[in-house]
């Protein structure tokens, strides 16, 4: 069974006004459990609108045509809406702006409390969530979230979502506005979360390098439609289309193209620095072998 099934999903904002905007246009998508799905697309392409359908924050507009089913739960079903909300954890853009409690501990406990879990379970989950995001419980639990650094706030906010232990974790630009160290720490954390807490992860990002590195599968959106869908290598090999929909190639792919221009014969489908390095190493070894064998390559 796939974790997420979207059928013919269309969504129009401000219907029948001059502000009318077709944010999603006939989206069909099915995501297998255990996938790390990356969503890319230029500003306003409908990414946030799409993910908010997954836990029923945005209601399916045309129930006759469209359907949203997550882990067997229909998003149009009122009775299971709460359950759906706990099944799909969404970390919004700049989640630190949603902190509200006077201590970190209480803020992280907000979600589990709404799940009506017993107090010991809540405490255990808060402790675990804080440790998972790399914040020492004893050091941070009693501090006010408003006096933390930006990166620490972000971690607290993410902890607030993973404390609900959602089976599907959705992150909308989780590293926007962080410094390079903060970025790589949070990205590493997300990869870890997939192993520890939420097997299925969906991440929206404007950074092609991050997405190429983390995702198993990428969908590229443009004007409310899914224009590309496949593994990172497949998606980023489609250079024309990527350019057409206002996106960029990962640095490693661009570097590979430049090197190919200079006459170095690298395979296509390189999207991460590691792959590039491996290919280059292979060539070097190959060349070395050739030299040993007295070949005529230079």
């Amino acid at each position: 069974m796939s974790a997420i099934e979207l059928k013919d999903l269309t969504y129009i904002y401000s219907k029948k006004t001059p502000f009318e905007k077709r944010a999603l246009d006939d989206i069909n998508l099915s995501v297998e459990e255990g996938t790390f799905l990356g969503i890319i697309g230029e500003t306003g392409s409908g990414k946030s609108t799409l993910i908010q359908h997954l836990n029923g924050l945005i209601k399916v507009q045309n129930k006759k045509v469209s359907s949203v089913v997550v882990n067997g739960l229909s998003a149009t079903e009122k009775k299971t809406l709460k359950q759906l909300r706990f099944e799909v954890g969404i970390v919004f853009q700049y989640p630190e702006y949603q902190l509200f409690e006077d201590t970190v501990k209480k803020d992280v406990a907000y979600g589990p409390k709404n799940m009506k879990l017993p107090q010991e379970e809540i405490d255990a989950r808060v402790r675990r969530a804080l440790e998972v995001v790399g914040l020492n419980y004893d050091e941070f639990a009693e501090r006010s979230p408003f006096e933390l650094s930006g990166g620490e706030k972000r971690r607290v906010a993410i902890a607030g979502v993973i404390a609900m232990q959602p089976k599907i974790l959705v992150l909308d630009e989780p590293v926007a506005g962080l410094d390079p160290v903060g970025r790589s720490e949070i990205l590493a954390l997300i990869k870890q979360l997939q192993k520890d807490v939420s097997p299925t992860i969906i991440m929206v990002s404007h950074n092609m390098d991050d997405i190429a590195m983390l995702a198993d599968r990428i969908i590229a959106m443009y004007d409310g439609k899914i224009e590309l869908d496949g593994t990172p290598s497949e998606v980023f090999c489609n250079r024309e289309k990527i350019k057409e929909i206002g996106l960029d190639l990962p640095l490693a792919t661009r570097l590979r193209d430049k090197l190919v221009e200079k006459g170095i014969n690298l395979p296509d489908g390189i999207v991460t620095p590691a792959q590039l390095e491996a290919s280059l190493a292979a060539i070097k070894n190959g060349t070395a072998k050739d030299e040993v064998g007295g070949g005529d390559n230079v």
């Binding site: 502000f19 969404i90 702006y97 907000y110 709404n114 408003f146 607030g160 979502v161």
Partner: protein, 283 residues
């Protein structure tokens, strides 16, 4: 920028009404609102409704956008009309039960009050539907200009007003975002009694306030960085001018006001006679 806000938000159609000078629109709106309180007869109400519809059509607004603004005060309308209906105790009694009495005068007072409120709100909403917040703030500044003589800080007030107006949609958007985020953590805002609901709003209100202060700080820095100084003489990028259309609008509204006032004071009764002529025994 303006999202799903349903009360008197700006509705661009590039009509003649939209192009009127904001000051003129502001004054005419005030005139309209005042005049509404002088309406006495049903004839007067019909005339006002007619004028309103003419304006709405000229502005090329969908009627629904105007009616939406009434939705906000629906509760007040219902509440006051019930009070009026049951507690005005003059004239012929139509119905009586315990302390509740409905009289003919009560019914008419109620109907007229509802009409008055509906016309009032629709009329006032036309201003915000056809004028951008910035134009409105400039208009206010220009109208208040004489107050500078008594050292009233007109410029500051106008700047405060335009900033406030500018941030209404931002605050709405932000509120929606925070609500979404807390809902994603299982918050529910529509269950429980009054206090439970008020308490459920705290996770929304606190971040909203915190963010507003942060934003106010940022804005102050940004203004400072661009050498904003409220006491210096500032010039406008767009200078408003009174044009032909403004004069037409002015004359149109003045004649409307004259008819209503004449109906009330001078020809006292013409409207009422027409009322009798139309509604007969119902009155």
């Amino acid at each position: 920028m303006f999202r799903d806000i349903s009360f008197g938000q700006y509705y661009p159609t590039n009509s003649l009404v939209h192009k009127l000078d904001a000051r003129v629109k502001l004054l005419l709106t005030i005139l309209f609102v005042v005049v509404i309180f002088f309406i006495k007869s049903y004839f007067g109400f019909m005339l006002t409704a007619f004028v309103l519809i003419v304006i709405i059509l000229t502005a090329r607004l969908p009627i629904i956008s105007v009616l939406k603004s009434i939705r906000g005060i629906l509760f007040i309308i219902i509440f006051t009309s019930l009070i009026n209906l049951f507690f005005v105790k003059q004239g012929e009694i139509l119905w009586h039960w315990k302390i509740f009495t409905i009289t003919k005068v009560g019914v008419h007072t109620t109907i007229k009050m509802v009409l008055r409120l509906v016309l009032l709100i629709s009329g006032a909403s036309l201003l915000s539907l056809t004028t951008t917040p910035v134009q409105l703030a400039d208009g206010v500044e220009s109208i208040m200009a004489p107050l500078k003589l008594i050292k009233f800080p007109v410029r500051d007030v106008a700047m405060i007003m335009s900033i406030a107006l500018r941030f209404i949609p931002t605050l709405f958007e932000e509120t929606n975002k925070i609500i979404a985020a807390q809902k994603a953590r299982g918050a529910s805002f529509d269950t429980g009694g009054f206090f439970a609901r008020a308490k459920a709003m705290m996770p929304v209100l606190i971040p909203l306030f915190v963010n507003s202060f942060r934003r106010a700080d940022e804005l102050a820095f940004a203004m400072d960085a661009r050498c904003y100084n409220a006491t210096d003489k500032r010039t406008k990028m767009k200078k408003a001018r009174i044009g032909f259309g403004d004069i037409v609008a002015l004359l149109f509204m003045l004649s409307f006001a004259t008819v209503i006032l004449l109906d009330r004071y001078y020809f006292a009764g013409v409207g009422i006679t027409i009322d009798y002529w139309i509604f007969g025994d119902l009155l």
